[in-house]
C-alpha cells in the first residue's frame, strides 16, 4: 500500500477497509460528516448511549454463557456465578435441544448435555432455575431453532412459580436468520422460521411486554467471517426483516421495538470497534425513526450485549486470552453496552472451568470497581479520531445495507446462500493472511516460543452417565404425564401451525402438559418442513 502523502510512515487500513491517518484533527471530523451527529447521551440519535447517565446509574449486566450436563449440573454453575457477583444468566443448551431433538433420539447420541444443558420437558426448566429469583437475575436463553418451545417453557416455569408474565424480564436469542449464516441450528425453512420469530414477538408484545423476544446477532455473522461493517449492516437488515414481518401482521412499531435487542462481537482494533458501536447506535436510531416513525423514543434504542470475542482468542498460549478478553471488556465498556459476556480463556479447548469463568467475571468487575469505567458516559466522545471513524463507519454500514437491499434484501440473499458465501470467502482470506503473517497474531504467527508450553487448561469432565440419567427422567415423565392431554395439545399446535395462527399459546399449553422438545418440533416440521442447506462454493 502507498504511504500517506507527506509522511514517512506506512499506510494502515483497519479491518473494515478504512485508511487510518497518522494524526487526526478537527478538520477530519468536519470533512467526514461533522460534529452534528454526536448529540447527548439518552437523546436522539443516541450516539453517546441510550441512557442519560449510563453506568453512573447502573453498571452493565454481567452475563456469562453457561450450561452443561443435566439441569442439576447447570443449576449448580448458575448458583456459583451468582454467588460470585454475576448479575444475569445466559443459558447454554446442548445441541439436541437446539435442533429440536429429545435426549433419546438416535441423532442425539453422544451429544446430550455436552455443549450445554439438556432439556426435554418443562421439568428440566424447573430444576435448572430452582432457587434463582427471576426478578433479581434476568435470564437470557441462547436458543434459536427451537426458541418458541424453550421460551414457552420459560414462561410456563415462571408462571408455575408465581411470577406475573406481564412483569417478567429476560431475553431470548431467537434470531433464526443469522443461524443460516453461522452457528447452524436451523430447523425449518427460512419463511416459516421468520413466521415463528414473528409469533414470539406478537405473543410478547401482548402478554410479556418487558421480555425481549429477539436478540439480533451480528456476533455470529462476524465470527463466520464478516468484517465489523458487515456485522452491523447484516444485523440491521435482519432486524428490519423481523420488524417488517410483524408490522405486516398488525403490530405498531412502538408495540415491540423497544424490546428488540442486539448481540455484537468484539475482537480486533479497539478504535474500530468503539466507532462501530457508536455509529451503529446512531444509524439504527435514524433507520427506525425515518422508516418506521415511532412515537416512543425507546423504539429507536440499540440495546445490546457486546463482548466475546471467540474469534479473537487463540488455542496457542491460551493464557494470552485472559489479556485479550480484558481488552475486549474495556472496548465493550467504552462502547456503552447494556450487557457484557466474555469468552473464557480456555474455551478453545473445553467447556470453561469454574476458575476460567470466575476470571472472566472478575475481569468485568475490575473494570467496574477499579478502572473508573462507570464514572462518566462515553468518555471517548470528542476525540478527533473516534468521531471521524464513527462518521465513516456509519457511512460504510449504510452503504452495505443499501447495496444488499438493492439486490433484493437479506432474506433472499440468505435463502440462496449468498451471504454465507461472502463471509466464508472472507474467513478463508483471513486464515490465509494469518498463516502468511500479513495479519499479526501474538503467539500464533509471532512471539512463538521454541518449546510451546503445555496449556494450563483443566478439561471439563464429560460424564457419559448424564445421557442415561436424562433419558431415564424423560421416560419417567412420559409415563407419568396425562398422555391424552399431551396428544390433544400437540394436535392444537399442529392445527394452529397449519392455519397460520400464532402457535405460542398452544405451545405453552403443550409444555405445561409436559410435551417434549422433540414432540413439539416434530409437529411443526410436519407443517413447515425442514430447511435444505445450500452448500455452494
Amino acid at each position: 500500500m502507498k504511504p500517506p502523502e507527506g509522511t514517512g510512515v506506512q499506510a494502515v487500513r483497519n479491518e473494515s477497509g478504512l485508511e487510518i491517518k497518522p494524526v487526526y484533527t478537527a478538520t477530519d471530523v468536519e470533512s467526514s460528516g461533522g460534529w452534528g451527529g454526536i448529540g447527548a447521551p439518552g437523546e436522539f440519535p443516541f450516539t453517546r448511549g441510550i441512557h442519560q447517565d449510563m453506568y453512573r446509574k447502573r453498571p452493565w449486566t454481567m452475563r456469562q454463557y453457561a450450561g452443561f450436563g443435566r439441569p442439576e449440573e447447570t443449576n449448580e454453575r448458575f448458583r456459583y456465578l451468582v454467588a460470585h457477583g454475576q448479575t444475569g444468566l445466559n443459558v447454554a443448551f446442548d445441541l439436541p435441544t437446539q435442533v429440536g431433538l429429545d435426549s433419546d433420539d438416535p441423532a442425539a447420541q453422544g451429544e446430550v448435555g455436552r455443549v450445554g444443558m439438556a432439556v426435554d420437558t418443562l421439568r428440566d426448566f424447573e430444576i435448572a432455575f430452582a432457587g434463582i429469583d427471576l426478578n433479581e437475575i434476568t435470564v437470557s436463553l441462547t436458543i434459536n431453532g427451537s426458541a418458541a418451545i424453550l421460551m414457552a417453557m420459560y414462561f410456563a416455569m415462571a408462571a408455575k412459580r408465581g411470577y406475573a408474565i406481564g412483569q417478567l424480564r429476560g431475553t431470548a436469542q431467537n434470531d433464526i436468520l443469522k443461524e443460516f449464516i453461522g452457528r447452524g441450528t436451523w430447523i425449518f425453512p427460512v419463511e416459516p422460521s421468520i413466521k415463528l420469530v414473528g409469533d414470539t414477538i406478537l405473543y410478547c408484545a401482548e402478554k410479556a411486554p418487558l421480555y425481549s423476544p429477539v436478540s439480533v446477532c451480528g456476533y455470529h455473522i462476524r465470527e463466520s467471517g464478516a468484517d465489523p461493517v458487515q456485522e452491523m449492516a447484516y444485523a440491521f437488515c435482519i432486524a428490519k426483516a423481523y420488524i417488517d414481518h410483524v408490522l405486516g401482521r398488525g403490530l405498531h412499531i412502538d408495540d415491540f421495538a423497544s424490546r428488540l435487542s442486539f448481540n455484537f462481537d468484539i475482537h480486533g482494533n479497539l478504535f474500530e470497534q468503539v466507532a462501530k458501536f457508536r455509529a451503529g447506535r446512531r444509524l439504527w436510531a435514524k433507520i427506525v425513526k425515518d422508516q418506521y416513525h415511532p412515537q416512543d423514543p425507546r423504539s429507536m434504542w440499540l440495546r445490546m450485549i457486546a463482548g466475546g470475542g471467540g474469534g479473537g482468542l487463540t488455542i496457542e498460549q491460551p493464557e494470552n486470552n485472559i489479556v485479550r478478553s480484558a481488552y475486549y471488556a474495556l472496548i465493550s465498556a467504552l462502547s456503552g453496552t447494556q450487557t457484557m459476556a466474555l469468552c473464557c480463556y480456555d474455551e478453545a479447548y473445553t467447556i470453561p472451568s469454574e476458575r476460567a469463568a470466575r476470571i472472566a467475571l472478575r475481569t468485568m468487575q475490575i473494570l467496574i470497581e477499579e478502572m473508573g469505567l462507570c464514572d462518566t458516559v462515553d468518555p471517548l466522545a470528542g476525540s478527533y479520531y473516534v468521531e471521524t471513524l464513527t462518521n465513516q463507519m456509519e457511512q460504510r454500514i449504510c452503504a452495505v445495507m443499501s447495496e444488499l437491499e438493492a439486490q433484493g434484501g437479506i432474506v433472499s440473499a440468505i435463502a440462496a446462500g449468498r451471504i454465507q458465501d461472502v463471509v466464508s470467502r472472507q474467513a478463508f482470506e483471513r486464515q490465509r493472511k494469518l498463516e502468511s503473517g500479513e495479519i499479526r497474531k501474538v503467539g500464533v504467527n509471532c512471539y512463538r516460543m521454541e518449546e510451546e508450553e503445555r496449556p494450563p487448561v483443566e478439561f471439563h469432565p464429560f460424564k457419559e452417565e448424564v445421557c442415561a440419567e436424562q433419558i431415564e427422567r424423560l421416560n419417567r415423565i412420559r409415563s407419568e404425564r396425562d398422555n391424552a392431554k399431551v396428544a390433544g395439545a400437540l394436535q392444537t399446535v399442529r392445527a394452529d401451525a397449519k392455519a397460520g395462527r400464532n402457535v405460542m399459546p398452544s405451545i405453552i399449553a403443550a409444555v405445561e402438559a409436559y410435551a417434549t422438545v422433540g414432540e413439539l418440533t416434530q409437529c411443526l416440521v410436519e407443517e413447515y418442513g425442514r430447511y435444505e442447506e445450500p452448500t455452494r462454493f
Partner: protein, 145 residues
C-alpha cells in the same frame, strides 16, 4: 500419468449436530485451491449418510470436522460403517476441537490424520500429498460401485 497428477477426490463432512462450519468451509476452500476435487456435505449429516455418500461418490479421502466434543462416539460409528462398506482403505482425516489426549484413541479407530484447531491449512494439504506421493493413497475412483 504420475500418481500425484491424478485428481484426489475428497468428501468433507460435518457429522453430528454441531453447526460451527467456519473452519470446515475454510478447509474445503483451501483443498479446492490446492487442486483437489472436494465435495462438502453441509451440516448435520449422520455417519450413515456420510459413509453412503463416500461410497457413492467413490472418494479417496474422507474428512470430518467436529467441534462439539462428540468425536469419539461419532468416529466409532463411522469406523463400523466403513468396515461394513469395505471402505477401510480410505484416507480418513478428522479435524476440529480434538483434545491431545483423544488423538491416540482416534488413531486406534483407524483415523489416519488428526488435525486440531490451530493446524495450518498447508499441513493438511501436505499430509494428503505425502500419502499420494508415497503411493499409500488407495484410489477408489476406478472401482465399480
Amino acid at each position: 500419468m504420475m500418481a500425484s497428477d491424478k485428481k484426489v477426490r475428497i468428501l468433507f463432512a460435518k457429522p453430528g449436530l454441531d453447526g460451527h462450519d467456519v473452519g470446515a468451509k475454510v478447509v474445503v476452500r483451501s483443498l479446492m485451491e490446492a487442486g483437489f476435487d472436494v465435495i462438502y456435505t453441509g451440516l448435520r449429516k449422520t455417519p450413515e449418510e456420510i459413509v453412503r455418500r463416500a461410497r457413492a461418490e467413490r472418494v479417496d479421502v474422507l474428512g470430518l470436522s467436529i467441534l462439539s466434543g462428540s468425536h469419539i462416539p461419532i468416529c466409532r460409528r463411522v469406523k463400523t460403517l466403513l468396515q461394513e462398506q469395505e471402505l477401510e482403505d480410505i484416507l480418513w482425516l478428522v479435524g476440529g476441537n480434538i483434545p491431545d489426549q483423544d488423538h491416540e484413541e482416534l488413531k486406534k479407530l483407524g483415523v489416519d490424520g488428526v488435525f486440531s484447531v490451530g493446524t495450518p491449512l498447508q499441513s493438511i494439504i501436505d499430509f494428503i500429498r505425502a500419502r499420494v506421493q508415497s503411493g499409500a493413497l488407495h484410489y477408489y475412483d476406478g472401482r465399480a460401485s
